[in-house]
């Protein structure tokens, strides 16, 4: 079997800044945008970019994530010679069982898997970003430049640049320097954690990296600097469009709120680039006789009988009569009972907000995460 480009999605992280939202599921499996999970984005992007084989590297709380991504038909990746492969750390004949020690090590431990497909190029993705990208365009750029590696970058506001891995490039886009979270950034081109490598080269670097006791086995910290040291041709491919790292409760809430914006660049209603997800059995959304809806993003299975203002309601969530949901994200199966008021909050899946309970506040600096049942009037 030969594939020109294989994709590997790094999906092992816990995403601990998402607090209780990831206490039982890995970050890529966290719900987003009413009916999706975060990992649907890279997987759908792969399917839409014509990539047939995708490895998903899982580690933290991976049972749900493993079974979710293994159902490759969801993304149309179930034709012959295509597939989504779940790759947790495993015991092998020539190596003891070890956790993935870093992003690069996750690939190193699966060199055998990649070799099976004998690809020319390897695409490395992260399982926790929200964006739509045609990886084939990036590959064309990589080929045009005759690059050894290409890194997708996005322009970020200069004052925020010190939070990112910043690429300093020459005029033609060749990367001359990479700085991880620089105090005084020289450019605003942030790495998106999306890489295309020539597989033969990456393979050699990874084999060496595995044995290097001083390495943290990380693409950003170890592999990219090593390639630059060796004088390899690294290019930055500038992505223009919506991209969001939903690493914190605030940013996850914000990315959901972005969907309410009429001009939202993510545009999930793009029939030429659909984001595919689990097919759930649910009625269409029902909006009751006394409901008030004022700017909302609502999906199937929802039942709205109260007021919803500037909010996103996920699959099978419920807003009962007299309840108010304002500036909030209500995750799958969550219920806001009669008379309850939810403001600037993110309600975790299947959580009930009891009768007349009040959670969150319009003045709070941070978004309130509600991960446990809130008792209301009995």
């Amino acid at each position: 079997m030969q594939s020109e480009m294989l994709a590997m999605i790094l999906a092992g992280g816990r995403g601990s800044r998402l607090k209780d939202l990831t206490s039982k599921v890995a970050k890529p499996a966290v719900s987003f945008g009413g009916k999706y999970r975060i990992v649907d984005f890279p997987l759908s992007n792969c399917a839409n970019s014509g990539i047939d084989v995708v490895g998903v590297l899982t580690q933290y709380e991976s049972v749900l994530l493993n079974s979710y991504v293994a159902y490759s038909g969801r993304w149309g990746l179930d034709t012959k010679d295509s597939g989504v492969f779940v790759l947790p750390p495993m015991e092998r004949a020539d190596a003891a069982l070890d956790v993935y020690r870093g992003t690069a090590d996750a690939i190193s431990q699966n060199i055998g898997f990649v070799d099976n497909y004998d690809p020319e190029y390897l695409l490395i993705l992260s399982g926790d970003h929200i964006y739509k990208m045609n990886y084939d365009k990036m590959l064309q750029y990589h080929k045009e430049k005759g690059a050894d590696a290409t890194i997708a970058v996005i322009g970020v506001p200069m004052k925020e640049a010190s939070r990112f891995g910043i690429m300093n490039t020459g005029e033609d886009g060749q990367i001359v320097e990479f700085e991880e979270k620089p105090e005084h950034p020289k450019s605003n081109l942030a790495s998106m954690g999306i890489y295309i490598f020539n597989w033969k080269l990456l393979r050699r670097i990874l084999v060496a990296d595995m044995k290097n006791p001083d390495s943290s086995h990380d693409f950003g910290k170890d592999v990219i600097p090593e390639l630059l040291r060796e004088g390899k041709k690294l290019y930055a491919w500038q992505f223009k469009g919506y991209w969001k790292d939903v690493g914190t409760i605030d940013s996850l809430w914000e990315a959901n709120m972005d969907l309410l914006d009429p001009g939202n660049a993510l545009n999930l209603d793009d029939h030429a680039w659909k984001i595919y997800t689990e097919d759930v059995t649910a009625l269409p959304q029902y909006i009751g006789p006394n409901a008030h809806i004022d700017v909302a993003y609502i999906t199937q299975g929802c039942r709205v009988e109260g007021d919803v203002t500037k909010s996103v309601l996920f699959t099978n969530s419920q807003v009962c009569p007299g309840a108010k949901v304002i500036d909030s994200v209500i995750m799958p199966g969550a219920v806001v009972e009669e008379g309850a008021v939810v403001t600037r909050a993110l309600v975790a899946p299947n959580v009930h907000i009891g009768k007349n309970a009040v959670v969150g506040s319009k003045d709070s600096a941070e978004i309130t995460l509600v991960a446990k049942r809130v008792k209301g009037d009995e």
């Binding site: 009916k35 595919y276 009625l283 269409p284 004022d294 700017v295 993003y297 609502i298 199937q300």
Partner: protein, 372 residues
């Protein structure tokens, strides 16, 4: 239920939904926004563990039905020992005298003969209801009857269900006869075109029907057999709709707008499966006012929706008002357009006319792809 295989028949010869049927058979009619009518019988079978299902394609223009049912994978049928088969027949044109269920069965007789299950459950593709066929088969087996028929008792048979058959029963629920609903009385037992019997008896009835008349139907030969066979009726409870004409199609969906009625049809432990289109959620913008409605995914709503059923990907523009209507997928209701008591077929654009208003008794219809 390894004991029975399923047959889903096409709409009866009495069914006429003039305009809409031009585009697809009743089984492929949109129902409650995201379903098609045939999702109900197939899901009923799947949920009853019937995993060998024959779907008879017996109408004009079956393209959308075939496309929708496809491999049947989305109906949660075991992908190895189960399957949904679509069966065609040469005479399957609505205006063909020979287009009868018996002729369709006859043309596929080898397939029926080869089925390993000893019992058959037959149910139609133009009726909407929830029924556990496993339970019905148990009732059938316990009663020792030759044939069990499912019926729905109504007090609304004078104005409605006119193109269906009724079951006349004796006190012991024995079937005395089956006849057309003539609309002479309010209370009738509407026959749900649903039968359970042994496969061998079914085959025997097919051959007997052919001997009586070349255009005989199953319901007629069963009626003829009422004296010779032990035929019993079982009452169905819950929501029931027979889509036999345009009005009944509209009415069935309006009834769903009472959430308690919809709950009866859609129980948590009885999923109704359908084919996903991967539409995104629906976006409600500034100016949206929505009450008592079912709205499918992928819509963009900037106007008013009251007491209506909205299909996937519908655009409701600023100032638009939709009342008591059924809007099928991908239609556009333009700015300041008022639509009342209408069924708007797929891909239609209502942009030029500012008012499209009919009465609830005679709802209006806009053709697929029309621009008005």
């Amino acid at each position: 239920m390894e004991q029975a295989f399923g047959i889903i028949t096409s709409a009866s010869k009495l069914t006429r939904v003039e305009e809409m049927e031009k585009y697809r058979p009743v089984g492929a009619f949109s129902f409650l926004g995201r379903y098609r009518v045939i999702d109900f019988p197939i899901s009923n079978m799947s949920n009853s563990d019937i995993d060998r299902i024959h779907v008879y394609i017996g109408d004009n223009n079956p393209r959308s039905l075939v496309e929708h049912v496809g491999t049947g994978r989305h109906y949660n049928i075991n992908s190895k020992h189960g399957k949904v088969q679509m069966l065609f027949s040469d005479s399957a044109r609505k205006d063909n005298l020979y287009n009868t269920d018996i002729n369709a069965f006859q043309e596929n007789i080898e397939i029926i003969q080869r089925m390993p299950q000893p019992y058959v459950v037959i149910t139609p593709s133009y009726m909407v209801f929830r029924q556990d066929f496993n339970a019905l088969l148990q009732t059938h087996l316990e009663s020792g009857a030759d044939i069990t028929l499912l019926y729905h008792k109504t007090d609304d048979a004078r104005e409605n269900f006119l193109n269906t058959y009724v079951v006349n029963l004796n006190k012991q629920k024995g079937v005395l006869s089956l006849e057309r609903n003539s609309g002479t009385a309010k209370e009738k037992n509407i026959f749900m075109d649903t039968y359970i019997m042994k496969k061998d008896l079914f085959l025997d009835l097919i051959s007997r029907a052919k001997k009586v008349s070349s255009i005989y139907q199953l319901v007629q030969i069963v009626n003829d057999s009422c004296n010779d066979l032990d035929i019993r009726g079982v009452a169905h409870r819950g929501f029931f709709a027979a889509i036999t004409d345009f009005r009944s199609y509209y009415k069935a969906q309006m009834e769903m707008l009472d959430y308690n009625v919809a709950k009866v049809l859609f129980e948590n432990n009885w999923p109704i499966y359908t084919r996903t289109t991967d539409s995104c959620p629906t976006k409600y913008m500034d100016g949206a006012k929505v009450t008592n409605s079912f709205v499918s995914n992928g819509c963009l709503v900037e106007g008013t929706i009251e007491n209506s059923i909205i299909g996937r990907g519908v655009t409701v523009s600023k100032g638009a008002v939709i009342r008591n209507s059924v809007i099928l997928a991908y239609s556009v209701i333009g700015e300041d357009v008022t639509v009342e008591n209408q069924v708007i077929d797929k891909w239609a654009n209502i942009i030029h006319v500012k008012e499209l208003v009919s009465t609830p008794e005679n709802p209006g219809y806009v053709h697929r792809d029309d621009i008005i």
